[in-house]
Symmetry: C2
Subunit: 217 residues, 2 copies
């Protein structure tokens, strides 16, 4: 009702009718909003003057921006995750060398991968959380396949920028649950060599979420 920037004269009865709830409910809500620092109130004889605080406006704005990014732009485009280099079991190279994966990587990610993965151990809670979120977002998916020897499951990938410099991708096996605290990164070149990395070094990965259109089912 125009209460961002100016105080607006309202009464709890008034608002209650408009919103279809009881007067007491509005009273309680206004008190709560005031305690949360989202509105300022000034009681008068004929009701009260209510005004959004900067913090209140900010709260609305963040909901608005959140919705806009969903409705207009699609999905948040990039998630930053930081982790520490560690040496894995060398399995990465084995998987990537499989023709069934390699050809899909070339086709869907646009580069011929170096035969090895950079393993990053996620330490902070923020990074672990970001890693979990990733699972829910749409991904570029590599189909599973069979060789004479065994079956290889489907893999989810996200294009990524490593240390704000090198292009590559994050890969996550749909199956394994080793995944939750680890980020596996592939790239056209040997990232360990490129950045002179040794175990324990920190690496920042910007993961790109594909928009609904370009991602494959």
């Amino acid at each position: 009702m125009g209460a961002q920037g100016r105080a607006v004269q309202v009464s709890t009865t008034n608002l209650a009718e408009k919103l279809g709830v009881a007067q007491q409910t509005i009273s309680r809500h206004l008190i709560k909003l005031e305690r949360l620092g989202l509105i300022e109130r000034h009681l008068t004889a004929r009701g009260e003057l209510v005004k959004l605080t900067d913090s209140g406006t900010e709260e609305l704005r963040s909901v608005h921006l959140g919705l806009r990014s969903i409705l207009e732009a699609g999905v948040p485009t990039v998630i930053s995750i930081e982790g520490e280099v560690f040496t894995g079991l060398g399995e990465g190279a084995y998987y990537i060398s499989q023709k069934g994966y390699r050809e899909q990587i070339i086709g869907k990610l646009g580069f011929d991968p170096y035969l090895g993965t950079l393993n990053l151990k996620l330490k902070s809670n923020l990074d672990l959380q970001a890693r979990k979120e990733l699972d829910a977002y749409p991904a570029i998916e590599l189909r599973g396949f069979k060789t004479g020897l065994r079956t290889f499951g489907p893999v989810k990938c996200y294009k990524a920028l490593i240390n704000d410099k090198a292009e590559g991708a994050v890969v996550t096996a749909l199956r394994s649950h080793y995944s939750t605290s680890v980020l596996e990164v592939i790239a056209p070149t040997d990232l360990r060599d490129l950045f002179k990395l040794k175990d324990g070094d920190k690496v920042c990965v910007k993961v790109f979420i594909p928009s609904s259109q370009q991602s494959s089912a």
Copy 2:
């Protein structure tokens, strides 16, 4: 998480952690959202595929647009109210003829008012509700003043368009409570004459809500 248009693989546990509530709560909410027709669900062994329906997206969009109109444009700009002409006690002319009001009207509304008010009786619930809303929105305010004889209270005004043709203003005494079912309209000319109005005729008034900037405190 990109579930507008595509189904997204989630689990209730997964979402519950992310939102900081119990798994059961998510389960209940997803069921409810499905019943409300806002999402589609497809249960699988590893969780469920969730997708916003058109109706769900529409719901989000309406919240988004609501917030946008507040955060970007300010306040809804115009409210339409319809009422029936009736003959008042002629008090309107008395008030408007007061120099203290008249000069402020010229200054703040931009016209020299005809010495009389057009009284509209609001009939429908919609119009009565719109009238009430008006009280809460920011207005152009005429200061109260004293003459040798008596005191005149402050008055709230809104610029208005009458029958989509004549410019004028809606005035509401801050004091009186006669106001809730009546709209008092002033204009530079005699509206009764201009529109050949007689008692009982319907008149449509588009009331303009001033943006926070231009309105005076």
